[in-house]
């Protein structure tokens, strides 16, 4: 199969991927966390990274997001080798991460959380004064675009539901018009209906041309139904690649635990 020469990649010819990682190796001391992992992310595509604990999927997205460096391999963005040494480098390349814990400050409202660390400010008497009105207008635009216009912008986010908080964390990631959004377990703590909302939100972002990378354990519902492509990782490398619509949860789980050695149905 031609696809076996292209592990982690989509077989469809859709031009240069937004992100292309090839044969990434990464060790933490004696632990060989990534042993030649690869993944491509195209515009408008939702890629799920699945695998057992310790399979390397979290390490791979952390390398992608600049949290970790890597020992060898190729990391290209828009076909050009990327120089990413820390998370803010990744942000500068247009890669945003929504962590599983959401990284929200519960005592702040949605506007303050959306802009945290990147407030629009003007000069003031004692330190820089926040341009609250400008921030709020921009926040409202993004929320409306995400069809979250009815979310309160002035309540502390700690008083909101899990789904609303997840939505705010996602809104925050797209505030600065990224190319790729990485979501770590976006549905882990959510009820079924909240998870449905979040996945429809993620789909609408992909439809706008963003590349989405999702790390998830929610194989049977979320991964199989709401993504385009599934990369299965095992022992720090790619074990299988599926098109989500052609596969069942059983098959994915089998690949995760090693039942279907080398299967590649994506082609």
């Amino acid at each position: 199969m031609s696809v076996s020469n292209n592990p982690g990649g989509s077989s469809q010819k859709r031009g240069v991927p937004l992100i292309s990682m090839r044969n990434i190796q990464k060790s933490f001391g004696s632990v060989h966390a990534l042993r030649g992992a690869s993944v491509d992310v195209h515009a408008g595509e939702i890629v799920a990274l699945v695998g057992d604990n310790g399979a390397g999927k979290s390490t791979l997205v952390k390398v992608m997001a600049g949290v970790h460096g890597f020992d060898s391999g190729d990391y290209e963005i828009d076909g050009v080798p990327a120089k990413i040494n820390n998370p803010s480098d990744a942000t500068a390349y247009g890669i945003q991460t929504v962590y599983q814990d959401l990284s929200l400050c519960n005592n702040l409202d949605a506007v303050q959380n959306l802009f945290l660390g990147r407030e629009m400010t003007g000069s003031g008497w004692f330190g820089r004064r926040i341009k609250r009105a400008e921030c709020e207008v921009r926040a409202r635009e993004v929320m409306t675009r995400m069809r979250l216009g009815n979310l309160s912008l002035t309540r502390p986010v700690g008083a909101m539901s899990g789904g609303q908080r997840q939505n705010i964390a996602i809104a925050r990631s797209i505030l600065w018009t990224p190319k790729v959004v990485i979501l770590d377990e976006p549905t882990a703590a959510l009820s079924h209906s909240a998870a449905e909302q979040v996945s429809s939100l993620i789909r609408s972002l992909a439809d706008e041309g963003l590349g989405i990378v999702i790390v998830s354990h929610d194989i049977h519902h979320f991964v199989v139904n709401s993504t385009d492509r599934i990369e299965v990782m095992r022992l720090g490398a790619n074990a299988a690649s599926f098109r989500s619509k052609d596969v069942t949860g059983e098959q994915v789980v089998n690949a995760m635990v090693g039942g279907n050695e080398g299967v590649n149905l994506a082609g």
């Binding site: 400050c105 005592n107 945290l116 660390g117 400010t121 009105a133 207008v137 909302q197």
Partner: protein, 408 residues
């Protein structure tokens, strides 16, 4: 069937519209957070007014306010440290040692009081920032660092003092801070300036919102705050003028409250204090320099404690072993922390505002003043203050439980 499933998502989206009208419980947990303290304070005033004829006299209310200033300022400094989820147990010792330092520079070295005051405040800020640096670099909890530092500073204070164990400050110029009052027309000019600044701030915020195309509620965002602010501050000036005018110490406290309120509500630094206190990991990921924010918070607490120490020295016309509450911080440390917490500042970070320092200090000052008038002994005052502290935090917890709202 498939239709039913795909329809489920939009339906549930509509099912959870943003609540336009908030419940009273949620208001208590957010905008009306100060309400229980205000109610408590008014209840205390009614109680003491019934117990003593002179309690509500302008003279006594002026005294009450003056009595509350030192604890109030200490509490204002502690607010910054508590907001970032730390504690500074050395503030009372900083208060004492910097005041003694100032007195030594004036009395022994003949330095001008202005320079000595500046040195004392700078020393307080440096001591505070050093303990924060120690905390963040070595990883020792602030509780331990500042507990140890406080004792060490108590020792230093005793070392700096002369064999007589006291520096008198009568005639040094420092005593004039406590003895200066702003009376008559001048007091109303001060009031008008303060109100104008406050009004300008509210007005610029409202205009910016309007220019940005956001809705502005002129009543609740502009008219009400200014009118309420004018009445409360005007009433205070009126009462103070009926006795001897605005004491300079009270004015200093008021200015500090105003500046701190502006910093916390309007500036990026203020926002970062709240962010760091609630979720330092999220703040770090957002690119906020958590260590620097904490260091600034401790520096502010230290510098502000020094200011309180200078005012205390001015009131008592000197410094000595007793300055800064004596060894271990004494009641000054405990009352300062109690005032902050009674006022509604969380010990667990990320919650509280400047009126906490004012309200908390007024509660503690009122208990002290009122019980004094009733001729009750000091031990009863300690018992009442202690119980009020527990009561205030309990009310917080009860609101949280009853409304299911985390109180912010």
């Amino acid at each position: 069937m498939a239709n039913a499933i795909t329809n489920a998502a939009p339906a549930s989206m509509k099912a959870a519209p943003a609540a336009k009208r908030r419940s009273f419980g949620e208001l208590l947990a957010t905008d009306l957070r100060a309400l229980p303290v205000v109610v408590g304070l008014v209840a205390l005033w009614i109680f003491f007014a019934i117990q003593s004829d002179v309690f509500l006299s302008p003279r006594n209310l002026s005294n009450l306010l003056l009595q509350s200033v030192v604890v109030g300022i200490m509490s204002l400094g502690l607010l910054f440290v508590l907001l970032v989820k730390e504690i500074d147990l050395s503030v009372a010792a900083i208060n004492g040692v910097t005041a003694v330092l100032m007195a030594k520079f004036i009395v022994d070295f003949g330095l001008s009081p202005w320079a000595a005051v500046a040195i004392a405040i700078a020393a307080g800020a440096i001591i505070g920032s050093l303990s924060a640096r120690w905390m963040t670099y070595v990883g020792v909890p602030s509780f331990v660092v500042t507990l140890g530092l406080g004792l060490a500073l108590n020792g230093a204070q005793l070392l700096i003092l002369p064999p007589t164990a006291r520096y008198g400050l009568m005639g040094s110029g420092i005593e004039e801070i406590a003895q200066t009052n702003i009376e008559g027309a001048a007091s109303w000019v001060v009031w008008a300036i303060g109100l104008a600044l406050f009004g300008m701030l509210a007005l610029t915020n409202a205009t910016r919102r309007k220019n940005a195309g956001l809705s502005v509620n002129f009543m609740s965002e502009l008219v009400m705050p200014i009118v309420v602010g004018a009445i409360l501050s005007g009433g205070t000036v009126l009462i103070l003028n009926a006795h001897q005018g605005i004491p300079l110490m009270v004015l200093i406290f008021a200015v500090m409250l105003g500046v701190a309120g502006y910093v916390l509500k309007e500036t990026q630094f203020g926002l970062y204090l709240y962010a760091v206190g609630n979720n330092d990991e999220a703040a770090r990921r957002a690119g906020i320099k958590v260590g620097t924010i904490k260091m600034l918070a401790f520096a502010i607490a230290g510098g502000v404690a020094a200011i309180a120490g200078i005012l205390a020295a001015s009131r008592t016309l000197g410094v000595g072993v007793f300055s800064g509450g004596g060894v271990g911080g004494g009641t000054l440390l405990l009352e300062s922390i109690a005032a902050t917490v009674i006022g509604g500042v969380s010990l667990f970070g990320g919650r509280g505002s400047v009126h906490a320092a004012l309200l908390g200090a007024l509660v503690i000052g009122t208990v002290q003043n009122g019980l004094n008038l009733m001729g009750v002994e000091n031990e009863i005052r300690l018992i009442v203050t202690g119980l009020l502290l527990v009561l205030a935090v309990s009310i917080d917890k009860l609101i949280e439980k009853a409304t299911g709202q985390q109180v912010f």
